[in-house]
């Protein structure tokens, strides 16, 4: 008799309490106010009078155990043995005495972890897996993010932007990186290249047909084998067919380009949440440092920083000054591709006489 296998302990999401810093546990749901003594530091005060200082530092997200242990050593020696991570992979150390803040910051800087990402800064870029682990990537994620954050480091450690800036990158148009003030995404520009010998063997053809948002895919027979073909006049090069059908290769070292989108906003503060809008495309996929991407992003950030009013997010600023002015100020070309033609697109056209001269 073989031994019965171990069945999983289906515990689900763990309880929060065992992992909370004692001051957070004690004052759970009972905080009164907060301020930011300096960039990278939050200071929260509870109704009980208890205080907690949080020091936020940037990480590379994909971390080796040596880096992680180093961060844990810092947490044990310079903080109080508890950490948390933000949605953008920044690490936070909580300390209950103000005197511990500066030594903790000094140690983090000494070990190469930038302190910042709070308030009106450019925070760490939320990103995807890229060539490191994804099965459908047109570019890398960690590398592009590392290259960009090297360039944006000064804006991470300061709080000098009009409002917070949230960046995202995505290595395909599915955009796992999500909405951002600036989203840096791959945009395929050519229809998939189909290996007709393979399609019948590896693809569930009806479900691939069903995935196409423009009904451009249809069953076909090529060289006597069942396969799929794409009506290239309809195809919008979205890549939706590629994940379920790898022989429909959409990634192209030359023709998969970077596109930059701006004005995504997930907060409801002031204006309602908004999706990001296309502002630039056709930017070469140029590892290992993607300098052309960095140039466009930095230019947009520079103009935004100079021109926006306090507390305007990038999208709110563009809406206030008007998109014609956005293109004028950033020097980005306005093309026919900026004019929305997808369903619901009329909502994005100017149905008024509101025009600036």
């Amino acid at each position: 008799m073989a031994e019965a296998p171990r069945m999983p302990d289906e515990t689900g999401v763990p309880e929060i309490e065992p992992y909370l810093h004692p001051v957070l546990k004690k004052n759970y749901g009972n905080w009164k106010w907060h301020d930011r003594p300096r960039p990278g530091v939050l200071h929260h005060v509870a109704h009980s009078g208890d205080e907690i200082w949080t020091v936020r530092a940037g990480t590379q997200r994909q971390m080796d155990v040596y880096t992680i242990r180093k961060l844990m050593d810092i947490a044990d020696e310079f903080a109080e043995g508890y950490v948390r991570f933000t949605i953008r992979s920044n690490i936070e150390f909580m300390v209950s005495e103000e005197s511990k803040v500066q030594p903790l910051i000094d140690k983090l800087l000494e070990e190469g972890f930038p302190v910042g990402g709070t308030g009106n800064s450019v925070s760490m870029i939320s990103h995807t897996q890229g060539w490191l682990h994804c099965d459908i990537p047109a570019t890398d994620a960690s590398g592009a993010v590392k290259a960009l954050m090297d360039e944006l480091h000064e804006e991470f450690v300061r709080e000098e932007m009009p409002n917070r800036v949230r960046l995202t990158t995505s290595c395909c148009q599915i955009n796992c990186g999500g909405q951002g003030d600036i989203a840096i995404n791959i945009q395929h520009t050519k229809p998939p290249k189909i290996n007709h010998d393979q399609v019948g063997n590896v693809c569930e053809r009806p479900s691939v047909v069903a995935r196409c948002p423009v009904a451009a895919i249809r069953p076909a027979v090529v060289n006597g084998k069942p396969t799929l073909e794409v009506d290239e006049r309809k195809c919008i090069c979205c890549g939706a067919c590629f994940p379920p059908c790898p022989p429909m290769q959409i990634n192209d070292p030359e023709h998969s380009k970077f596109a930059i989108w701006v004005g995504g906003k997930n907060s409801n503060a002031r204006s309602k949440p908004t999706f990001h809008k296309l502002v630039a495309a056709g930017i070469p996929n140029n590892p290992p440092r993607w300098p052309e991407v960095a140039a466009v992003v930095k230019n947009i950030l520079r103009v935004y920083k100079e021109d926006a009013k306090d507390f305007e997010r990038i999208g709110e600023w563009a809406e206030r000054i008007g998109w014609p002015r956005f293109f004028e100020k950033t020097g980005l070309p306005f093309t026919k591709y900026h004019i929305d033609n997808w369903r619901g697109s009329r909502a994005n056209l100017n149905a008024s006489a509101h025009i600036r001269f």
């Binding site: 999401v13 992992y19 957070l24 994909q62 080796d64 682990h133 090297d150 599915i174 002031r270």
Partner: protein, 414 residues
């Protein structure tokens, strides 16, 4: 000591610069880990050719149908053998973190020990779905690695057409703007539907995310099928002495330009004595003024949650925001959380029954119309569910009198 490293001239350039370098981390692991030597070899190849070389497959753990992201190399030599054999299998385990991504250092150290023993030593805190991603594991080691992590009290996250790992903000643990117990709400929704997480059989993914206020730090309106946003029904709390102190510190112009005129519904006014007048019935709880004047202004006391359904990104019909289906519900008592649990399972059941394959909740609602969805869930309509009423006459209204009577009845009952 591992096998010798390949030359990686392109990746080497990502060791320069001030931001922490993942490449330096990979190289450190590669000193005594063949899998990482070969991973670097494959990654360098990707940088040279600008192509990805992973394909998916089927790898799992006993008892579960999802949660492992299998990756097999496609970089083969002329004899169809992997060019980088030690990284030929490079699977990821998705593990659900504690709500709010809080940890004690001991827990993370244990994770490191387990992953050093069974995996590559590369861990991402966290993936875009909110999982701890243990990246780089052979097929044979997936089970023992999971067993060790599971013994610590951590469970596999979601992948594929399943309930996905939930996310909740720092919230009640360390934020005065929190309007409900986000951690409990997220755990309630996910843990009530674990079977649909671990045994994927839904039309497509289903995500629960909770943000304690309208700042929506979890990006839930845009990214979650079920988005829980904290809000309040009574008046915003104003500490007028702190308002005066703020005006005194920052100046009237600053306050007028950055607080008063930034209110989206013009519900704020600065009085002559530097106190703040708030038109509370017109306040939409957007959080801006509270964000700016953290000491003077706070959410009210009658707190609860707004629930929006249907947020998602591109595939298939384009981006969709969530839509309000519950404008307000208290979320304090055990009964309130039972209500939430029931709602989460009802939404999931309706989605499982009615969505087409590969359709998200938002797309399903787009296809069948919000009113059909609400009827299916037995939720009364509410004008807070719309931005504005319909603008076209293409609707059959011969049930108008009955519908108007229903509304009047509901109004009378309140």
């Amino acid at each position: 000591m591992a096998k010798p490293m390949y030359d990686t001239p392109m990746l080497d350039q990502l060791e320069d610069g001030v931001w922490p370098s993942f490449v330096s981390g990979l190289k450190r692991l590669a000193k005594d880990n063949d899998m990482m030597v070969d991973l670097l070899g494959q990654l360098e190849t990707s940088y040279e050719t600008r192509k990805g070389y992973w394909k998916g497959g089927t790898v799992g753990v006993i008892g579960y149908g999802g949660g492992v992201i299998p990756r097999f190399t496609e970089l083969k030599d002329e004899n169809n053998n992997p060019k980088f054999p030690a990284a030929a299998e490079f699977h990821t385990l998705r593990i659900m973190p504690p709500p709010g991504m809080h940890y004690d250092t001991g827990t993370i150290r244990k994770f490191c020990d387990i992953w050093e023993k069974y995996g590559s030593g590369l861990i991402a805190f966290h993936g875009q779905s909110g999982d701890i991603m243990f990246q780089g594991c052979t097929t044979d080691n997936v089970q023992p690695a999971f067993d060790a992590i599971n013994e610590m009290g951590f469970d596999m996250g979601g992948a594929g057409p399943a309930v996905r790992t939930g996310m909740s903000c720092v919230g009640s643990a360390r934020c005065e703007q929190s309007c409900f117990d986000e951690a409990r709400a997220m755990r309630t929704c996910v843990n009530a539907n674990l079977d649909d997480m671990h045994r994927p059989a839904l039309p497509y993914k289903l995500k629960f995310k909770a943000s304690g206020c309208a700042n929506d730090c979890m990006n839930s309106i845009q990214r979650a099928d079920v988005s829980m946003i904290g809000t309040w029904r009574d008046d915003m709390k104003v500490d007028q002495e702190e308002v005066k102190a703020f005006v005194n510190r920052k100046g009237r112009k600053y306050v007028i330009d950055n607080v008063i005129t930034r209110c989206p519904t013009q519900a704020l006014s600065l009085n002559d004595d530097d106190t703040l007048a708030v038109d509370n019935p017109n306040c939409v709880r957007c959080m801006h003024c509270i964000n700016v004047m953290t000491k003077a202004l706070s959410p009210g006391d009658d707190r609860g949650v707004s629930i929006l359904v249907g947020g998602k990104r591109t595939l298939k019909i384009g981006d969709l925001m969530g839509t309000v289906i519950v404008p307000f519900h208290k979320l304090e008592t055990d009964e309130d959380f039972e209500w939430l649990e029931e709602l989460s399972t009802e939404i999931l059941d309706f989605f499982a029954e009615n969505a087409l394959e590969h359709e998200r909740t938002g797309e399903m609602i787009e296809r069948i119309g919000l009113t059909n969805f609400l009827e299916g869930l037995n939720i009364e309509i509410d004008p807070n569910m719309i931005t504005r009423p319909r603008t076209n006459p293409y609707v059959r209204t011969d049930g108008w009198d009955e519908e108007a009577a229903k509304w009047k009845e509901r109004q009378a009952a309140q």
